[in-house]
């Protein structure tokens, strides 16, 4: 019974597979062959990084959160405020925003992760609401409802200027995403990552075999917050604007939907989900500006009903069926 066998065990996981290079090849194809899609593509790359950060804690850590935009937004605002008050060097801003989000992730995670399930969900929601209100009310620093516009962004490494066609922004986002992807990929295949998956599967058992579950989860949460912050910083730097939408509850929900759509706990679901979601939204919004959310809703209902494991889960099963019929 081939279906009963683990497709890829951790203990015998192979190295880099050729298919894993596909997203990068696709990104380069868009960059060279479809210049009109480069600005949208750059945005997709940023949201992929955000979804990837969520996959680390949700897909691998089993931590269901509705407040992940808190860290994305914090990074976005930190990058904006850094650029306005300290300087426009993008890498320094990115580092500062990532560090700020990591610290905030550590502080909030220390509280949130003491709870489970619904209580955890509510706490994450509360944290996101607090961040939203701070961004909304602390007008002199955050710009309040107007946000910060015309955020100064210097050339990357003092050389590469951001251009109006979004080409530098695209490659910059691609490079940061690649670094984040490599980090998350390394982690989820490491003993730490596998033990994290163990806590998702059964945290009581993980404790019983001697793993400090809370500490491990907190580490993953902090790292995830840092990556979300980096994604937020990229958005600010590439659009030169940061507003309340980056800390909104809607964004927390949307990123969750995108990850579930792609397939959580699979690393590449974080690539497929945002791509399909954003492209579908773009298309549906053009077709029907009033009712496009209905289309997204129907898509999600179909996925949850018929394709647990998201689009990638569906693809896996299709491949398996194909192999089964050939064998």
């Amino acid at each position: 019974m081939p279906a009963a066998r683990a497709a890829t065990g951790y203990a015998s996981a192979p190295g880099l597979r050729a298919a894993e290079l596909l997203p990068w090849a696709a990104a380069l194809v868009v960059f060279f062959a479809a210049p009109t899609y480069v600005p949208l593509g750059g945005y997709v790359l940023i949201i992929i990084l955000f979804a990837l950060s969520l996959d680390l804690i949700l897909g691998y850590g089993g931590i269901v959160t509705l407040g992940h935009s808190a860290y994305f937004g914090l990074g976005a605002y930190a990058a904006g405020i850094f650029a306005v008050r300290v300087g426009g060097d993008p890498l320094a801003g990115l580092a500062a925003a990532t560090a700020a989000a990591a610290l905030f992730g550590l502080a909030t995670g220390a509280v949130v992760l003491r709870t489970r399930g619904l209580a955890l969900l509510m706490l994450t929601l509360a944290i996101a609401s607090i961040v939203f209100e701070v961004a909304n009310k602390w007008t002199e620093v955050t710009g309040g409802a107007d946000g910060l516009s015309d955020v100064p962004v210097g050339p990357i490494l003092g050389v590469f200027e951001f251009d109006f066609r979004g080409r530098t922004a695209f490659l910059y986002s691609l490079a940061v995403l690649a670094a984040g992807w490599w980090l998350v990929r390394t982690i989820v295949g490491s003993p730490f990552g596998v033990a994290l998956a163990g806590t998702r599967e059964n945290d009581v058992r993980m404790q019983a075999v001697g793993a400090p579950v809370y500490r491990r989860r907190l580490r993953a949460y902090t790292l995830s917050a840092a990556l979300a912050g980096a994604a937020g910083a990229l958005l600010t730097q590439t659009t030169q604007f940061v507003g309340l939408s980056t800390v909104s509850f809607e964004l927390s929900g949307e990123i969750l939907v995108m990850l579930v759509l792609g397939g959580s706990g699979r690393l590449y679901g974080a690539f497929v989900g945002p791509l399909v979601y954003i492209v579908a939204r773009d298309y549906l919004a053009k077709q029907s500006p009033e009712y496009w959310t209905l289309g997204i809703g129907v898509l999600l209902v179909l996925i949850v009903l018929f394709a647990r494991g998201g689009i990638l889960g569906l693809a896996d099963r299709a491949l398996e069926a194909l192999r089964g019929s050939r064998a």
Binding site: A11, F192, V204, R205, Q207, V209
Partner: protein, 259 residues
């Protein structure tokens, strides 16, 4: 003799319900113990107090000179307490190999490493294979846990506890719900455990109990009703009346503490 695991005056109350009352026990190094008693006698609660899933209302738990009472389950596991659960408590969507390898990784202090591939630790996979052989799952290494038979899952329960390389192994009803063949396999597994390991088993099957136990502890309403050799327990009127299902009015109830 060097006392391994010891409890002194353990009490556990859930509200006004006294589940464990004044339990003082000593589990000596390398000995085999069975804990028996009717349903609701507080056997699993006792285990949970030993492993740290529950904190006692009163009393202390020691492992050698180490006071475990305030320690969380993970710290107790690292100190040397391995347990299996009454209802299988496994990693349903992982393979047998990965399940065991994770537990070994925790034990071998590499589970914090995030920069190397899990698969690059040959030792983890090798140890997982050894454990699988020990618990009779060598042929099922690649199977997902949720696809294992019930008996195999029970064996993996024991394997995960063994992966912690414990000093004291606590098995909570390892044979419950098993077929006779599966029970025999589990008995063989228990019989084959390293001699220096202290083993405490909650068990309902009296044939199993009298097959391996050197000391039998009888719990009733949260108290230690009797403690002694299997022969003494079998002979004890009080125990038979309360538990073994042969009410024998002629026997003296005081015989329970024979040792």
């Amino acid at each position: 003799m060097n006392a391994r695991l010891e409890t002194r005056g353990l009490h556990k109350n859930f509200g006004s319900l006294q589940v464990t009352q004044d339990v003082s026990l000593r589990f000596d190094s390398g000995r085999r113990y069975a804990v028996i008693g009717p349903n609701g006698a507080g056997k699993t609660t006792l285990f949970n107090l030993l492993t740290g899933e529950l904190r006692p209302t009163e009393g202390r738990v020691w492992l050698d000179a180490l006071d475990l009472t305030a320690l969380a389950p993970d710290a107790r596991a690292r100190a040397g307490i391995g347990r299996s659960f009454q209802r299988s408590n496994l990693f349903a969507d992982l393979s047998v190999r990965d399940s065991l390898a994770i537990a070994v990784a925790v034990r071998r202090r590499v589970a914090h490493v995030f920069w190397r591939r899990f698969g690059s630790y040959r030792l983890l996979a090798e140890r997982a294979e050894e454990l699988a052989a020990q618990i009779g799952l060598a042929d099922e290494l690649a199977l997902l846990v949720r696809h294992l038979s019930y008996g195999s899952q029970r064996q993996l329960e024991v394997g995960l506890a063994l992966a912690c390389e414990p000093k004291v192994l606590l098995l909570d009803e390892p044979t419950s719900g098993m077929s006779p063949e599966e029970t025999a396999a589990m008995q063989a597994l228990i019989a084959g455990l390293p001699r220096e390991l202290t083993v405490v088993v909650i068990e309902h099957d009296m044939d199993v109990v009298f097959g391996f136990a050197e000391t039998v502890v009888v719990l009733d309403y949260g108290r230690v009703l009797a403690e002694g050799s299997p022969e003494a327990i079998r002979a004890s009127g009080a125990v038979r009346e309360r538990y073994l299902g042969h009410p024998d009015d002629g026997a003296a109830p005081a015989g329970g503490h024979g040792r």
